[in-house]
């Protein structure tokens, strides 16, 4: 019996203090990374508003430039995000001196809200309007798809703002004039529609332009196609402008061509502009009571507790009872591996004669021993001895032991069986 005494023991598990020291290192690294991230964000600036045509966004697709130029020109620009705010802003400046620009790409406003918008100001601009907005505020105009940003439009109507602009970037949406249906026509008998900035790609055929626009065209609609990027509908005192050439307002392209002149002319017609981008606050929320409102108070905490119990159970079962012990495993190679490999090679390449030769050599060796012949005996002698002992014809034995060539696997099996049988016969004779 040997006795191993350990006077000073090494404890492998780190103490709490040591582990905390290890954690400090990582905490410092995490803090460092966080600081670097904050500094980077501070330096590059937060492009928090990368939304297209947002009046606050300095990004290429934003529209902060046009807002700032309008402000410097003496136009009061208010940016609102709900109908209530818009109403308040409009009440301050008064309906006659206010332009309201609505950009409602998600169609958040319903018909009543849109109509009330018309009551707030006599000059409403619909920037890239959808179906519902057109249907409510400009019934004679319909959507006609989008236009590529490299399209250039030239002034082709009598509107002074357009005339001043000359040529304009056409990227955005196109609109088409449709004959107003009978009932709407009877309600608004005196609407004058002016369509400008024709892009001339009448993909639908565009056979005739003027007569198509049911209601009376404002004379200057001399376009070659029937898709327009600016349509103004004047009904009595109030005007609704549908502006599809939205690229003209972005920071990126505002300075090219007559974009700035168009933007300032359309948006800065009156002393104040309300840039209204509807938000979720405009959506009336009335829904049935949720599951959480129907269930008792303890359900959520209990679910939380079950989750905590699951984590605790994971810690209970998952805590390892000391490190694993290393065991060097032995190499496991069967000695017959080479034999098996050779057998598979024979079979895959159908090496029948080679296989049969191997079987024959083995059989001849054993037959020679069984016949009592020395190792040095020739095959011929063995064949004769086997034939005489087994009482079989010499030719048959010679064919089996020497001459036969297998042409198929079936024949190989037959010959191998015959060899085995011959061996047994000779062994039985001795």
């Amino acid at each position: 019996m040997t006795e191993t005494l350990a006077p000073e023991q090494t404890v492998l598990t780190p103490t709490l203090r040591k582990r905390a020291r290890g954690l400090v290192f990582w905490a410092v690294i995490a803090l460092f990374a966080l600081a670097i991230a904050l500094i980077t964000i501070g330096l590059t600036g937060t492009s928090q508003d990368a939304v297209r045509l947002s009046p606050d966004s300095p990004a290429p697709a934003g529209a902060r430039g046009v807002v700032q130029v309008l402000r410097s020109q003496g136009v009061t620009v208010a940016v609102t995000s709900s109908l209530a705010e818009t109403r308040t802003a409009a009440a301050i400046s008064g309906p006659e001196s206010t332009t309201i620009l609505v950009r409602d790409t998600e169609s958040l406003l319903d018909g009543a809200q849109l109509r009330s918008l018309g009551g707030l100001s006599s000059n409403v601009i619909l920037l890239e309007p959808g179906f519902r907005q057109l249907n409510t505020l400009a019934p004679g105009v319909a959507q006609a798809g989008s236009l590529d940003s490299d399209v250039v439009l030239s002034a082709d109507c009598a509107l002074p703002v357009v005339q001043r602009a000359g040529t304009v970037s056409g990227g955005g949406h196109g609109y088409r004039l449709v004959p107003a249906s009978a009932d709407t026509g009877s309600e608004t008998p005196t609407s004058i529609t002016t369509a400008c900035l024709s892009s001339g790609d009448g993909s639908d055929g565009g056979t005739d332009t003027g007569s198509d626009s049911g209601s009376e065209s404002g004379g200057a609609t001399a376009g070659t196609g029937d898709v327009y990027s600016l349509v103004r509908v004047v009904t009595g005192e109030s005007a609704v402008t549908v502006l599809g050439a939205s690229d003209a307002l972005t920071n990126e392209t505002i300075v090219t061509r007559g974009n700035a002149a168009l933007a300032l002319g359309v948006l800065g017609e009156r002393a104040s502009l309300i840039w209204y981008v509807p938000s979720l606050a405009d959506v009336a929320a009335v829904s049935p009571p949720t599951l959480a409102e129907l269930s008792p108070d303890w359900v959520v905490p209990t679910a939380l507790l079950v989750f905590i119990v699951a984590i605790a159970a994971a810690f209970w079962r998952g805590r390892r009872f000391g490190p694993l012990v290393i065991e060097n495993l032995p190499v496991v190679v069967r000695a017959s591996e080479t034999m098996e490999g050779r057998a598979r090679l024979y079979q895959r390449s159908s090496a029948r004669s080679r296989a049969l030769d191997a079987l024959r050599v083995g059989a001849i060796g054993r037959l020679a021993t069984a016949c009592g012949l020395p190792r040095t005996a020739s095959v011929e002698e063995i064949v004769q001895a086997v034939a005489s002992i087994s009482g079989r014809p010499l030719d048959q034995v010679r064919t089996l032991l020497l001459d036969a060539r297998p042409t198929s696997d079936r024949e190989l099996i037959r010959l191998s069986d015959a060899l085995l049988e011959l061996e047994t016969a000779v062994a039985a004779q001795r």
């Binding site: 023991q9 605790a312 012990v325 000695a335 034999m339």
Partner: protein, 437 residues
Amino acid sequence: MAVSGWFVALVALGVVPLIVLDQPVVLVAWLILVILLTTLDLVLAGTPRGLRFTRELPARVRLGESVASRLLISNAGSRRVSGIVRDAWQPSAGAVATRHPLSIPAGERRTITTTLVPFRRGERRSAHVTVRSFGPLRLAARQATIEVPGSIRVLPPFTSRKHLPSRLARLRELDGRTSVMIRGQGTEFDSLREYVRGDDVRSIDWRATARRRDPSSGAPSLVVRTWRPERDRRVVIVVDSGRTSAARIDNEPRIDTAFESALLLAALASRAGDRVDLVIYDRRVRGRVQGATGADLLASLVNTMAPVEPELLEMDWAAVPGLVRSVTSQHALVVLATSVDAPGAAEGLLAVLPQLTRRHTVIVSSVTDPSVVDATLARGDRTEVYRAAAAERALLDRERVSAAIRQLGGVVVTGTPADLPPALADAYIALKAAGQL
């Protein structure tokens, strides 16, 4: 730190006040209570770092036998340590149970006994002891792993020692027969003694008889010479620990069979009065036993063999003659325990064999695979026929290598793992009887 199932149950129990009181804040309160209780339990638990460990364990054990490993734990801390302890033995050490309950009051000592039944030869180790000490509430435990190295050497089983009595009997027969009948090669002069009736008259030493007269009666008494088999021959066993020795036959590596046959041969030869030396070699010497005699021989043999595992290297046969020369310069019986399989693989062996056979008697012992012989007879379907052909080819290869070895003057001994040790012993006895040692 570790938590128990009671801790989980306690957390889960919080569902009762939560539903009864129907207040979400109860959840937070309950969790704070659980954390407080757990912390208290942890603080009150005895520290496992205060334990002192001592191992009591035999240095070696034969493979297949069981042994008790005792771990003495004394508590030098100030609190009772109660919990579980794990003695981390390697899996092949065959510990029957590695986890034991433990409860030691402060200042006392307890013993934990682990029964080991190792199932692999070599050095089996236990690296460390892990203790999990629970607090009085059994909610949470302190856990620490303490390095307490311990190892036990598992010796080769030497199952072939069952063949030893019969071989020793044959050796004695050889002894007797030689003293009466045979003179000549392989025998040497032993002693002179008085003639008794039945002795061979040809062995009467007339000169010694003439020199010797009975002083009391004056009558002449005849003196005969006695003979015995030659003694103090050298036996050098070289075990190949190269890559071919790693191959398994009947789920036993070739090297283990080589060890078995070497042990049997050594036991037999040392009883017969010969000196046995062992070298385990592949590209460097893995083990060497030289100059050991008597009972010491077998002990040092098994001790040397125990930790040796086959290396994935090609055996360096060119160095073997030098190795044998370093062991003895006399004529010796050199036993090469290796494998004779394929002519390609045996080239190195065949190249150096003439050098060895010029000075020594050489036996090449090799394990054969019984499954190869079985495969030659199974010819049921296509796959089996091709397999039989491959097996015949393997037998033929082996036969060719064996013939080459015989031609170079060596003796080939082959057998299945069970048959090889006695076959080698028989070959030794035959050589001894023929006086070729």
